[in-house]
Amino acid sequence: MMKIAPTLTSSAAALLEVRDLSVGFAGQEVVHGISFSIAAGEKVALVGESGSGKSVSALSLLRLVPDARIGGQALFEGQDLLSLPERQLRAMRGQDIAMIFQEPMTALNPLMSVGEQIAEVITLKQGLAQTLSAQAAIALLAETGIDEPARRYHAFPHQLSGGQRQRAMIAMALACQPKLLLADEPTTALDVSLRLQILDLLQRLQQQRGMAVLLITHDLNLVRRFADRVIVMERGRIVEQGATTDLFAHPQHPYTQRLLASKPERDVLVTNKPPPQPSPSGGGGKTECTVSGSSGLGDGTAVSAVSAPPVLSARGLRVTYATPLPGWRGWFRRGEFVAVQGVDFSLPAGRTLGVIGESGSGKSTLALAALGLLPCQGDLTVVGQRWGNHRASNLALRRQIQVVFQDPFSSLSPRMTVEEIVGEGLTVHQPSLSTQERRAQVTQALQEVGLGQDDAADDAVASVQSLLGRYPHEFSGGQRQRLAIARALIVAPTLLVLDEPTSALDVTVQKQVLALLQRLQRERGLSYLLITHDVDVISAMAHEVIVMKSGQVVEAGGVDQVLTRPTHPYTRTLVEAAT
C-alpha cells in the first residue's frame, strides 16, 4: 500500500506513531490524549495499574473497543488507523498488526480446533488453499514450541494446557507475519513458571521476525526482562517514558517511583518466642504437639523454642473430591480425585506459614480443609481441636479461624451494607449485642484495617461511620480487601487463612495490604496460613514455607532456606521466575 504521509519526516523511523489519542465511554474520557511511538522491531512495554487505560489504549488502536469515542491519530506506516475506512482497517488487523490477549481460553473459539483457527487466518489473509494453510498452521504450532504439532492441530482449546493455549494464540497472531504485535497481558493468566517460557518465546519470535511488540502489562519483572523502552501510564495519561534500564535506574515521576518501589517489604517479627497471645479457650484435653522434629517443618527459623501447642497442625492430610465415573458405573459409584495428599505442617502462634504452588496444586483446597469447609482425612487440628460434624459443635472453633479470599469482588455480598457484612460475625458469635454495641465494634474494626482515614481533617469516627451504610461496589479492590479483613477480625480469631489475599490487587495496593497484615500480626499475635503463588509475597510475609505441587508437599522449611537454597527443581523455577 502506498505511503500517504510525506510530511512526517520526523517519524520516518516510527512504525506506529500515536498522537494525542483519547478514548471516552458514554461522555467520560478514560484516556486523555496520549502520544507515543514505536519503531520497527522495537519492544515497548506499556505499564500501569488496572484502570490506567493501558489496555483500552491498545485496543482502540485497532478500533476494537465497542461504543468508545476515540480521538487523535494513530499513524501506522503513515496511515491513520483511527480514520481508515472499516474495510481497510479490517484488512490490516492480523495482517500488519496482530493481537494476543490475556485469557486464551476465552480468546480462542471453543468449538474449533486450534489448528483450524490458525489455518482460517492464513486462508483468509493470504488466500492459501486449505491443505497449504493447514501445513502452515502446523509449522507455526511447531515454531511456537508446541510438541506434536500435527496432533495438536486437531486439539480443541480445552484439551490444551494454559501454556499451550497461549502458544497457540501466539501462533495465530503470527500467522501473517505482522509488523506489530500487541500483547495484552499475555502471561497474567498463566502460572509463574510458564510466564518466563512464554516471554522467552515472544522474545525469540520477535528477534527472528524483527517485528515490533507492544507489551501491555503490570508485571515489572517481565518489563525488565523484555522491553527496550517503557511507557508508564497513570489514570489515562502517560507520566513517563524512557529506555528500560534508565527508567528502572532513575525513575523521575513519583508514580513510577512508587510503582518500582512496590515490591512488598518484609516487616515481621523474627523472634523465636511467640508474641503474647491469649491462650485458646477450651483445648478439649487434646494437646497433641506436633512441633519439634516434624518433617514438614524447617529448622532454620527455629520453631523448637515454641512450647505452646500449634495453632494449626496437619498430619497426613488428604482431601479428595468425588468425580463422576464414565459409563454406567458412574450411576452407582463415584470416582475420587485426590486434591491434597499426605500433607504435614504445623503453624505456631503468631507466625506465618506460606503455602506456595501453582494453580491446581491443591493449595486452595488445603485452605478450605483447614477452615473445615471440606471434609478431609488425616489429622487436622485447629487450636488443638478437630472439626466436628455439626454446626453447633464447630461454632466455638469457627471463631478461632477466619478467612480472607482472593477476589475482593466475589468475597463481599453485593446486596449487603458494610455494616451488615462486617457485623455478621457478631450476630453469630455474640448475638446478645445491641445494635449500638455492634455498630461500635464494626466501627472499631474498620478503623483498625485503615478504612475511612482518607480525610484526616474530619472527625475520624464520623468518617468511618459514614462508610457503614455503603455497599461494596462503592469501594476499590484494596478497600474491599480491607473490608474482608475487618469481617474476619471482628470475631477476634487467632488464625487467619489468607487465600491469595493480594493477587487480585495492583502492586502498590498489594504492598499496603501486606503492610496492614504485618501490622495486625505484630499487634494481635495473629497466625497466618498464607496461600499464594507469588514468591515476593512469601518472602515478605512468611516464617516457614511449604511448596506444593500436584497435591503434595515437595519442599518445606524456613523461608530463607527455601527461597535462597531451593532443593527441589520446581521450587527453583518458581524462585527464578520471581527475580
Partner: protein, 351 residues
C-alpha cells in the same frame, strides 16, 4: 474509587435503589408502570365507576346508599318487594322528581346488568347509552371490560405470586443443597413437567365446579417449574462464591446464608420475569375462558368476550374493544418487563 472523599452520607444507594434509578431511565417502562398502576387502581374501585345502582340518592327527604344496601322497589314507590332496578324509567323518573336526586356512576351499568330498555336489539353497537355497545345478552361492554380487566389482573397477580413463591422455594432447596436432593428434584420436575397440562385442566373442570380458586390451584401446580430452574441456577452459582464461603467460615447457619446472602443475590431473574409471568397468566386465563374452561359462567371475562366476538363476527365492537384492552394490558406489562430487565442488568451504568 473517589467515593471515600465525598461528603459523608448516612446510607448510600443500595443495589435495588440503583436498579430503580435505571428503571426510571427507561421512560417507556416507567410510564407504563404508572399507567398500569392507574388502571389497576381504577379497576379496583370499579363499583364507583361502572355500576347499575346510584352511588347515593335522596328520596323524599331521606338519604339512601344503594351502593352498599339493597332496597326493595317499594321504597321508591314501585310495586314489588324485589330489589330495585334503577335503570327502570319509572324508577328513574321517581328519583328525579320533586327534590329527589340520585348520583349515578359514570357508566350506569354493572357487569351483569341486562339493559332491558335498550333501543336497539342485542348485541347493539356503541350508542350514547352504551358507549362501547352491548354483548349478545345485552350487557354493557364497557362494564364487562372494566370488571373483566379487574378479574384478569387480580387472578394474574395471585397466580404470579403463588407461582413465584413456589418457584423460589423449590429452586432454593435444589440449588442450596445440591447433590442428591437436586438430582431427585430435577427428575421430579421432568416428570411433572411432561404431564399434559391442558387435558388435566379439561378433566378437572369436568369433575369439579369451575371456579377461580380451582383455576388458580391447577395453574399454580404447573406454573412454578420455569422459575424454579432459574432460581436453582442462581443458587448453584452463588453458593460457591467466596462471600458464602466466608459466611460459612463465620459459622452462619444455613437458614441465614439462604435468607441473607443467597436469596437477595438470586432474585434478579425472578424480578425480571415478574411482568412477563403476569402477562402469561392473563393470557392463560383469557385462553381458558375463550375455550369455556375458565371462570364460572356469568363472571366478567375477557376470554369469554373474545369467544362472543368470534361467534357474532358482525358485532365488531365486541372483538375490537376486548382485543384493544388485552393488547394494551399485555403491552404495558411487556414494556415494564423490558425496563426491569434493563434495570437489573448490572452492565448498564446507573447515571
Amino acid at each position: 474509587m473517589s467515593s471515600l472523599t465525598d461528603p459523608p452520607v448516612a446510607v448510600s444507594a443500595g443495589p435495588w435503589a440503583r436498579a430503580w434509578r435505571r428503571f426510571k431511565r427507561n421512560r417507556l417502562g416507567y410510564w407504563s408502570l404508572w399507567l398500569f398502576g392507574l388502571l389497576v387502581v381504577l379497576s379496583l374501585v370499579a363499583e364507583l365507576i361502572s355500576n347499575d345502582r346510584p352511588l347515593l340518592l335522596r328520596y323524599q327527604g331521606e338519604l339512601y346508599v344503594p351502593l352498599l344496601h339493597d332496597y326493595p322497589e317499594k321504597t321508591f314507590g314501585g310495586d314489588f318487594d324485589t330489589a330495585t332496578d334503577y335503570l327502570d324509567p319509572f324508577i328513574r323518573q321517581r328519583l328525579n322528581s320533586d327534590g329527589n336526586w340520585a348520583v349515578y356512576a359514570l357508566n350506569p351499568y354493572g357487569p351483569k346488568t341486562l339493559n332491558y330498555f335498550a333501543k336497539a336489539p342485542n348485541p347493539s353497537g356503541p350508542t350514547a347509552d352504551n358507549w362501547l355497545g352491548t354483548d349478545d345478552r345485552g350487557r354493557d361492554l364497557l362494564a364487562q371490560l372494566i370488571y373483566g380487566f379487574r378479574v384478569s389482573v387480580l387472578f394474574a397477580l395471585a397466580l404470579t405470586l403463588v407461582g413465584t413463591l413456589l418457584g423460589i422455594v423449590t429452586g432454593a432447596i435444589q440449588g442450596f443443597f445440591g447433590g442428591k436432593t437436586d438430582l431427585a428434584f430435577q427428575r421430579f420436575i421432568e416428570i411433572w413437567g411432561s404431564m399434559p397440562e391442558l387435558y388435566l385442566l379439561i378433566i378437572f373442570s369436568a369433575i369439579f365446579a369451575p371456579s377461580l380458586a380451582l383455576l388458580l390451584v391447577l395453574l399454580s401446580l404447573f406454573g412454578w417449574m420455569g422459575l424454579s430452574d432459574y432460581v436453582r441456577a442462581e443458587f448453584l452459582r452463588n453458593r460457591q462464591l467466596d462471600y458464602v464461603r466466608a459466611a460459612r467460615s463465620l459459622g452462619v447457619s444455613n437458614w441465614h446464608i439462604i435468607t441473607r446472602h443467597l436469596l437477595p443475590n438470586s432474585l434478579t431473574p425472578v424480578v425480571t420475569f415478574l411482568p412477563f409471568r403476569m402477562s402469561g397468566a392473563i393470557l392463560a386465563l383469557t385462553s381458558l375462558d375463550f375455550l369455556g374452561l375458565g371462570v364460572p359462567p356469568g363472571t366478567p371475562s375477557l376470554g369469554e368476550l373474545l369467544a362472543q366476538g368470534k361467534n357474532s363476527i358482525d358485532a365488531w365492537w365486541i372483538s375490537v374493544f376486548t382485543f384493544a384492552v388485552l393488547v394494551l394490558t399485555l403491552l404495558l406489562l411487556t414494556f415494564m418487563g423490558d425496563a426491569l430487565r434493563d434495570a437489573l442488568d448490572p452492565r448498564k451504568a446507573d447515571q
